[in-house]
Symmetry: C2
């Protein structure tokens, strides 16, 4: 393919993340080849695609039209033979993924983009068994990948910057918002930020300050909708008054570090988890899962559409 | 007033938060009495109100119509004489606020709601000089208060629950989303969650993983718009697949605590702050502050309108 627009994408796996990519790639007119160890992959994907087709960000599409572009080639060597892009979504098992990428690199065209959806492994680890380890680039989506714009893109120190740039072009061509990380670290960026917030959320529930449902309401009615619009740094810049971020830091000064030190350090032990689960089950989790998921996707797309109309994807 | 709908609200202060309350109260047909130590308070408020009138969540209103409902009574004892509600926004100086609330309680009708916008002080501290310390209830908004729905409401252990319920009714009547905290702790909930995320954001910028602008883009294109729609617990419930939050916790298990331990503990020293400011000044802060603020408010209201249309305020 070199720098041509990709035509054929191989998706490895049929989990939640893989299904999102399959639906999005097909909706963007790519030929999608699914490589899965599931013997019932064709039936399973056919059963799942309508849910994804109904919630594509540009509006619902006919699931049959998507399925027309999807074929199934279980053996990965056969699947990648004429691939322009390979998006890997295998289980988070390092030796498994290393062997998988070695096979993929061996059988795919030399110009094919080799991308991994991993959220926990690092690119140099994934490419360790390749002649050119730098060929593997992380393209880490945010769930569900057919809706949420972000893709975190990061190569290893040995990756050709042009390869990383091609990965960015590929995702941007799909309508995503790729962000290149300057180096990889476990959890990348979004999941580390999520973990930091979750830790304090668990602390506040554990301390009985708010319930699980109340905490969720606090977030959706304040920082959530704020951070849909401006990121945390710009938010504090605008919270600092006309003096901006400089005033904000000067005003908080030593209080910032003191505040950080006073954040909770809860255990994630069984008692804590059961407290949270019991509250969740009396709260949002009373509602059927597919109903909650459909509502989330509908609202998420409404927010995305509103932001697009205001000039922000 | 007892349980009547409030008609007259006193706003103490003319800072950013006070101005938001003044605009919102006036837009909701309250008579607003502003008590401020600024000698030029009438001119200052008149100059600021058009910006707020233009960004009210239900649509722009005529600033003159708001100003018609606003009067200025510098001396707080005079201002609160027939108040149904007092919303205090004085500087975060405990002795100052304690003396202020003692004067307010002395001069206001016994049924008036005495509310504080403080983000750092606790309700029992604020009421310490009152005959009934429990009369002071925190009504902590999120900036800017005329737009962002959340109000964190919390009394002290000695507060009559009926009083807290009246505060909730008052804010709900304004179209806000009040959440009652079961107990007060420094920073309440939203600001503690913000601090936790900011700490990791500072770490990631300091470590050179992303720039300030890139970090903001990661947030707005993923967790921000997700948390506008579902809170963190519901988000992980839906990220856990059909097994929900229970599966999510079981799947992560010990990894959750390990992930928390690996979060950054950056200093907030001068070097760190200057790194962030330099990047911000090359990034979003190149744009004029009023332009950024107006864009934020426009997009924020678009998100709120989209969520309302989907059945979520």
């Amino acid at each position: 393919m070199s720098t041509q627009t990709p035509r054929t994408a191989v998706v490895i796996g049929t989990g939640t993340i893989a299904l999102g990519w399959i639906a999005l790639f097909a909706a963007r007119d790519l030929r999608v080849r699914v490589s899965s160890t599931r013997p019932d992959a064709p039936e399973y994907v056919a059963g799942a695609i309508p849910r994804y087709a109904a919630t594509l960000p540009d509006g619902a599409v006919d699931p049959a039209a998507l399925l027309d572009r999807i074929t199934f080639v279980p053996e990965v060597r056969d699947a990648v033979g004429d691939a322009d892009v390979v998006q890997e979504n295998a289980p988070e098992d390092l030796p498994l993924k290393q062997k998988l990428f070695a096979r993929v690199a061996d059988a795919a065209p030399s110009g094919a983009l080799l991308l991994s959806s991993t959220s926990t492994l690092l690119p140099d680890q994934l490419g360790a068994e390749l002649a050119e380890p730098g060929r593997v680039v992380i393209g880490h989506p945010f769930n569900p990948p057919h809706i949420v714009p972000l893709v975190e893109v990061v190569g290893s120190p040995g990756s050709d910057p042009a390869l990383v740039a091609r990965a960015v072009d590929f995702y941007r061509g799909l309508g995503k918002s790729p962000v290149v990380l300057r180096r990889a670290l476990p959890g990348f960026v979004a999941n580390r930020l999520q973990a930091a917030l979750l830790r304090e959320a668990v602390h506040l529930v554990r301390e009985g300050v708010v319930t699980v449902d109340e905490l969720d309401t606090v977030v959706t009615s304040s920082i959530g909708q704020r951070w849909a619009v401006v990121g945390p740094f710009e938010a504090f810049h605008l919270g600092g008054g006309p003096g901006g971020l400089r005033h904000w830091f000067a005003h908080l000064g030593a209080g910032l570090e003191r505040g950080w030190e006073s954040l909770g350090r809860p255990p994630a032990d069984e008692e804590t988890v059961e407290t949270i689960l019991a509250q969740a089950e009396r709260g949002f989790a009373r509602h059927p899962y597919p109903e909650l998921a459909a509502r989330r996707d509908r609202r998420q797309n409404a927010v995305i559409a509103a932001l697009r109309a205001e000039g922000r994807a």
